[in-house]
């Protein structure tokens, strides 16, 4: 067995994981100490050469700093533009939402009366199956008039009002029907 340190042990010492026995040997053995010193010198030379090879003039670094500042400024501008576009897009979306909301609210305002609710439900039916609204109203009116129960008379009055408002003027029988509507109303009261 060699009395000197192996290359692995020398490298261990250089790396910083050398054993205590290796350190003790280096303190006592001049030859191993010289080998270690040679390795360290080689690495120091490598470090120095790297520093020299990567060296640049001050003007070069000033330019690099300036270039970097320009790129950072460019990045900030791009970020500001992005923020602006995002804000603009948000405003557009909000406006669109407000418009849609308003459009949805508009028919409800017109139809605030209970009669309008009936009209709205008729419209829903009309969506499912296209039908003349006037005819629809007439049929609903007839159904209402045919009823005998007193509770049914109140909607009939409303429908009559609707007919007055929206119905064609030439439909005289409808107006007559409205007067008929009142007749059973009085009779149900027991007069």
């Amino acid at each position: 067995m060699s009395p000197h340190l192996t290359p692995e042990q020398i490298v261990d010492v250089m790396v910083g994981s050398g054993e205590a026995h290796a350190s003790a040997h280096l303190a006592a053995c001049a030859e191993c100490a010289t080998r270690l010193e040679a390795e360290r010198h080689r690495l120091a030379t490598f470090k120095e050469s790297t520093e020299i090879a990567s060296r640049r003039s001050e003007a070069y670094w000033a330019r690099q700093t300036l270039l970097l500042s320009c790129r950072v400024a460019e990045m900030q501008r791009a970020r500001a533009m992005t923020s602006m576009w995002v804000a603009a897009a948000a405003v557009v979306v909000l406006l669109a939402a407000a418009l849609v909301f308003k459009l949805e609210l508009t028919p409800r305002r017109h139809g605030a009366s209970p009669g309008a609710t009936v009209a709205a439900s008729s419209n829903n039916n009309a969506k499912a199956k296209p039908q003349d609204p006037d005819e629809l109203l007439l049929s609903r009116l007839e159904r209402t008039l045919d009823r005998d129960a007193p509770a049914a008379l109140a909607p009939a009055e409303l429908v009559t009002g609707e007919l007055r408002r929206y119905g064609p003027p030439h439909r005289k029988p409808m107006q007559g029907a409205a007067s008929v509507t009142n007749r059973p109303k009085t009779s149900t009261r027991g007069d």
Binding site: P7, V15, R42, L43, S49, E51, A53, S57, L67
Partner: protein
Amino acid sequence: MDSMSTLSAGVEVDRERPAAGIGEEEFDALVVNYQRRIYRVLWAVLRDHDGAETLTQECFLRAYKKRHSYRAEAGVYTWLVRIALNLAADYRRNRRAGFWRRLFAHAGPGIAAGDKPGEEIEGVADGRTGAEQALIASEEVAGMWRAVAALPPRQRSVFVLRFVEEMKLQEIGQTLGLSVASVKTHLHRATMAVRQHLQSKEGCRS
């Protein structure tokens, strides 16, 4: 001053703040202080001046973007080196495709005459002494560079950080996300490989 990391004269980052971040003014100082060292690390790892220059710029741009998320657990330099080495790894992967060159083709003004990479490594640049030129040109150093270039990327990074940047093993571990034991293993293998490479060349000559 123990808890403070000085970026430059008068500009400091408090390392004890949990979510320190880096302000605009501090960032400028950081560029001035560290761009040379980051360039040197990148050059030593890549041995490519164009790449080192481009990636140094990119490293600081990334640092700028992430400056608010910087945590002062590790040193600023460790943080920057980590960014730089990640970029270097990407660069190596994409070098063949020329991806980065195309990406940064519009990066800005070109390199002025006299700063052209390659000139200095050949010892042509002005202001360099004959001794320095001799050092760079020396057979042993050239052989060592070749040996380092032949190392696997991780071993090369560990080797450069330890022997060129003289970082502590713990700092290298933080930078590369390795344990100290793992750093020692990589370092041991790298040093042995370089040593054997040089010995084999010497054996060939004799």
